[in-house]
Symmetry: C2
Subunit: 277 residues, 2 copies
Amino acid sequence: MALVPTMGALHEGHLSLARRARTEGGALVVSIFVNPAQFGPSEDFARYPRNLERDLERLGPFAPEAVFAPSALDVYPSGFSTQVDPGEIGMGFEGASRPGHFRGVATVVLKLFNLVRPSVAYFGQKDFQQCGVIRCMVADLNVPVRVVVCPTVRDPDGLALSSRNSYLAPEDRHAAPVLYQSLRLAQEIFQAGEIRASALLDAMQSVLAGEPRISVDYTAIVEPAALKPVAEVETGHVALVAARVGATRLIDNLIFGPRCATEAELIDSAFPQSAPR
Amino acid sequence: MALVPTMGALHEGHLSLARRARTEGGALVVSIFVNPAQFGPSEDFARYPRNLERDLERLGPFAPEAVFAPSALDVYPSGFSTQVDPGEIGMGFEGASRPGHFRGVATVVLKLFNLVRPSVAYFGQKDFQQCGVIRCMVADLNVPVRVVVCPTVRDPDGLALSSRNSYLAPEDRHAAPVLYQSLRLAQEIFQAGEIRASALLDAMQSVLAGEPRISVDYTAIVEPAALKPVAEVETGHVALVAARVGATRLIDNLIFGPRCATEAELIDSAFPQSAPR
């Protein structure tokens, strides 16, 4: 059985996970749960978009055997106290900007795995560090679930799909693709032979600096296993970017690799045995 | 399939868990793993008794379908970082005296559950807080394993069996039953009608104070769900004691209840649906 865990507000990115699960056979369960534990106290839990009816409509074509949409009290009954702490891989980047975020993610994903008991679960590459945290948790805790990472789905102008894109004012939506533009430039320079992370980061930052509506939170180039910054870039290393566009915080990433590599090959170079074929 | 998780150095207490598992049918797996993660840096990990050959011999009569005795590197490969943090129930008592202890316990037990995938696992009441931490972890993380708590097995003079009893010098072994004597006195006074925790604790402490070789770490009377101290004692509440006897730290506990109650009934009053019948 396959699980696609989501927080609802389903977009083409989520649907691509359901589609992939369907091509690999077996029953499909989609979970929809806006997990309070992965939001900080000053974050957007209250206004995070929720529309179960529309989500169910969008899932219709994939005919999931079950949609699991528990209440917060179902998931966290009174007295709940055990936490899954991802350790080092969850500390930097999103973990540093959003304290407690990955503990909330790891805890709820383990709970969903234990409740649904899938053999395989699908996650989007857009949340790269989350993919790493979950793969690490699964390996460390011997969880009998295969974690498959699927390529980021983008709007035609390159903006990575995210439920939070709905927060963007029109001018901000216009500026937002610059995150992906900075990543694409780094990839092109890498493919032209530049392997110094500092040079690739400079290029990214100069692109981002050209967009006044954007305030960069971090850019980094890391190896994928523990997200440690690297000095020299090779295939499978990853460029990460997080930025505020207007009032909305967005993240994106790109896996370095040769011009000829498919998305699945790039994912496999970062997350071996994870990429769907 | 049933799992009896142990750290080896098997005594009658462990064997009573295997015996109980056998009476309930199904395959039996016994794990033997001295878990470094649950020992503090100044604790007895290095000298903890290990004798796999003798353990296997003692298990012989129960003919387990498998004995799982992994190496530390099998369980914690390089890069291991995810931890299971029990939260509040693991903070006081043993958790306060042994920082990190219950995180180590919860993490390894969840790993063993995921590796062995039993439907039921057996633990000894002697480690009362550990039983609570594991039951809490299983409930919080929706782990599909039933946790059964079995009565403490004691030497004829009342000393709770523990692998650490082998550390006791003869004079200390002679003094050690005073822990259980203090608990028995509290039970007798409770059964005679005294429900003030303060009075029961006074009685325990006066017994313990009579033994000069003993240095008390804590005594407490708590409710069993979150181990919060209570002022008025009722059936299912628990007296806890930890003390150093010479150089050896021992723990013991007793569940309050009426004179007529069986051990299984007392365990069920503290851990509903856990006690084996």
